[in-house]
Symmetry: C2
C-alpha cells in the first residue's frame, strides 16, 4: 500500500510530497514536531502530545492555524487512511516558506507535514536493557521546546553508536539531564529520581506517564537533579520515551548498573506501562 | 530571467527544485551552509568561506564528496549562469535523505543546494548605523560551526525587531559573544576589541578581513572577551558580516554608543573595506 502523507493541508501519496527549498524548516530548522505512539490504531496520550505541541509553538511564537482540534482530526484520519495499528505518527510544523531572512516572514503560512510508520515495540531492548555512554550536554537552553534544531542530539546519538553503546546520557557539569532522545530515570534505595521538568530537558510524555504509574504503584519518586556519580551508583536506571517506552540501562560507560540486569522497580513499571497500553 | 539553482549536482530552474520530506536538513537541521558575497561577479574571500565550510563539515562529520574544488567550480558556474554581478550565493549541504533516525544514515549521499540573489550593499545602514538590543545568548556550544540549527538566532533577531532594534547583541553571563547573524567589535581608547574565535562565536570571514585591515592600518586590536558594560561604555561599536560588511552600532538598549554617530575608526575601516572590494 502506498503511504499516505498529510502535507500542506492535503492527504497525498508519499511520492507527491515535495518541500520548497525556501521552507524555513530546511534553512533554519525553524519548526516543531511531535512523535505520537499508535497502539491498536489509537493515538496514545494524544492530549498530552498536543498540549506539548502547543507549548513548543508558543515558545517559538509559531501560529497553529489548524487549531489543536484540527491537527488531531487530521492525525486520526491519517492513521485511518494508512490502516496503521502499531507504529508512530510523525508530525512537524515549520514557520512556512519565504525568501531566506532570519526575521519571521510576514505573509507565510505554517507548513505541516505528517506521516505514519509501522514500528514494533522494542521488545528485545526492553527485556535485556541497553548500554549507554555519558557525554556533555552542549545543547541550547530551550530543550523544553520540541524543535527541529536537533544537531546536538544527532551528534550525541552517533557518538554513542561509534563507542558501541545504544544511546548517550547527557550531563551539564555533572548533572544528568536526559539522553539523546529520551528522558533518564534512576532508582536508589527504592526512590525514583529524574531531572525536574525545566528548560534543560524535554518534558517527555512517557516520563510523565511513568511518574504517574509510580505514584499509583506507591513507588516514591523525586523530580530533582542527580549527578553522574549517582547514575554510576544507582541500583537501577532506565530511559523513557515514546518509542523506547521504558527501556532499562544496564551499563554506563562500560560499568554495570546495579546487578547489570533490569531491576525490580524497572520491571514493575514496565508491567504497569504494558497494562496502561492494554497489553 | 528564471533563477538557476544548483541542486543535487544539477543546474535547474528554481521551480524544479523540490526537497524530500526525509531530507535530514528538514527533520534535524542536519547540515551546514555558507553565504558568499559576490562583488563585480566574483566570489569575495572564496577561499576563506570554503575553508570554513570544510571545518563545519568536519565538526559535523559530514562528507563533502564534491571536494572544495568541485564546490567552488559549481558556485562559479552558478554565478555565471545567473549573470550575477552584485549579490550573494547561498550554499547549504545536508547529510542527505533517509528514513528519520538520529543516527547517521549508512547509504545516504549529502545533498547540496545553492542559489544566487541580487543584493545591494546596505548603504544606508552603513552610513547611519543601527540600534541594537542585548539578549542572553542561549545557543549551543558549537557556534563555530555554521549549521542549519538557527532557531536561537532567528528568535533573537525577531525579538530585536519586536523591540524596534535592527539586531540583537548576544551575551553569555555578561560577556558579549556576537550578534544574531554577525560579529561584534568595539573600540575603546583607540583599541579594537572582539571576542576570540573559540566555540562560542562564528568565525566570521568579514571579522577576519576587518582585523587584517586594522593591522595594515596600524589600529591596535585585541581578540579578548569584553563585557556588556564595556559595550555600553565603548567609544565606537560595529557589526561585521558578509552582507552587512562593517555596519556601525549607534545605540545599545536605547543608550547612545559614544557620540551616537559612527566613529572615526569605524569610518576608517569602512573605507579600507570598500577599497578591498574595489570601491
Amino acid at each position: 500500500m502506498t503511504s499516505i502523507y498529510w502535507y500542506d493541508n492535503a492527504f497525498l501519496p508519499e511520492e507527491e510530497v515535495r518541500i520548497s527549498p525556501h521552507d524555513r524548516g530546511y534553512n533554519f530548522g525553524d519548526g516543531i514536531y511531535e512523535v505520537f505512539r499508535v497502539y491498536g490504531g489509537n493515538l496514545f496520550e494524544a492530549e498530552a502530545h498536543f498540549e506539548r505541541l502547543r507549548l513548543s509553538a508558543a515558545g517559538l511564537k509559531l501560529a497553529l492555524p489548524w487549531g489543536l482540534d484540527g491537527l488531531r482530526a487530521a492525525m486520526i484520519e491519517l492513521v485511518e487512511r494508512n490502516e496503521l495499528k502499531e507504529g508512530i505518527v510523525y508530525l512537524q510544523i515549520t514557520r512556512g516558506t519565504a525568501p531566506r531572512n532570519h526575521l519571521f516572514p510576514a505573509g507565510a503560512a505554517p507548513v505541516a507535514l505528517a506521516y505514519t510508520r509501522e514500528v514494533a515495540r522494542p521488545v528485545q531492548a526492553m527485556e535485556q536493557g541497553i548500554p549507554v555512554v555519558t557525554l556533555e550536554d552542549i545543547r541550547w537552553l530551550h530543550c523544553n521546546y520540541k524543535t527541529l534544531n536537533l544537531l546536538a542530539n544527532v551528534l550525541a546519538k552517533q557518538e554513542a553508536a561509534d563507542r558501541g553503546a545504544a544511546d548517550a546520557v547527557l550531563h551539564r557539569g555533572g548533572i544528568v539531564t536526559e539522553s539523546s532522545a529520551s528522558n533518564v530515570m534512576i532508582v536508589k534505595d527504592g526512590v525514583l529520581l529524574t531531572h525536574p521538568p525545566d528548560n534543560l530537558i524535554l518534558h517527555g510524555i512517557t516520563r510523565a506517564v511513568t511518574l504517574r504509574l509510580a505514584r499509583v504503584a506507591e513507588i516514591p519518586s523525586d523530580e530533582r537533579p542527580f549527578t553522574l556519580d549517582e547514575l554510576y551508583a544507582a541500583d537501577e536506571a532506565f530511559v523513557t520515551g515514546t518509542t523506547v517506552e521504558i527501556t532499562p540501562i544496564v551499563a554506563v560507560d562500560g560499568r554495570k548498573v546495579g546487578s547489570g540486569e533490569p531491576g525490580p522497580i524497572t520491571l514493575r513499571l514496565q508491567r504497569e506501562f504494558a497494562a496502561a497500553i492494554g497489553r
